[in-house]
Amino acid sequence: MRKVIPPRAVFVDHPVGRTFGPPHDLQRNLAVLRKVLAELPLFTGPGEIRDLGCQWESDGSRAWEDELRAEMLRDR
């Protein structure tokens, strides 16, 4: 993302392809979208990447990384 220098970029620490949460979870979609929009007025120039502090699992577990790797290998 740094290389392409978007005007305003936010980082959502979710599995790739699940930016706004797990399937069929409108409340999670809304929560992420609210965070994105709230961040926009805080940018002062291009190229900045702001971390929204999103966690996929509420306890901060990163077990999803291994699961995602396995899933992507399976679905290749």
């Binding site: 290389k3 978007p6 599995p15 699940r18 706004f20």
Partner: protein, 148 residues
């Protein structure tokens, strides 16, 4: 034919020739918002994207009831987003924010194109200006690109 069946070289991110930046001129509550997605998604009754290097785009109605969304992007991450495209294209959530007044309105259509293209020059000279014109015509104040 040998070339056509050879594996693609790895993708290399390319910096734009000039930086994009403009100030936010309105508060969110006065802003019209559109989504941009690189998932090559579309309504089921719209023309499918070509499997690769398709520089076209689709205007996807922002009304969440407008019809079934199909994801044409060839990426291996597609199985889960196909269960619920809203996780990469949150048009229902965005419509909800407009209803509650957090944003002024949602553009009548969102914009969808194919991510992962290698024709960088044509993206800058053709696709990106076309998308910008669509946003301008629709009087969009904020465009949210959700990369796929």
């Amino acid at each position: 034919m040998a070339q056509a069946s050879a594996p693609n070289p790895p993708r290399i991110p390319v910096a734009p020739s000039k930086l994009a930046w403009s100030l936010m001129k309105k508060p969110l509550s006065d802003s019209r918002v559109a989504l941009l997605t690189s998932a090559a998604l579309r309504l089921a009754n719209q023309q499918p994207f070509a499997p690769k290097e398709d520089l076209s785009y689709r205007l996807v109605p922002s009304d969440p009831t407008a019809g079934e969304i199909v994801i044409d992007h060839h990426s291996g991450i597609g199985r889960v987003p196909r269960q619920d495209p809203e996780i990469v294209f949150p048009r229902t959530a965005l419509a909800g924010l407009a209803r509650e007044g957090a944003i002024a309105s949602v553009a009548a259509a969102h914009l969808s194109f194919m991510g992962g293209l290698r024709r960088h020059k044509e993206i800058e000279s053709d696709l990106a200006p076309d998308l910008a014109r669509e946003l301008q015509t629709a009087a969009v104040d904020l465009a949210l690109l959700v990369p796929y």
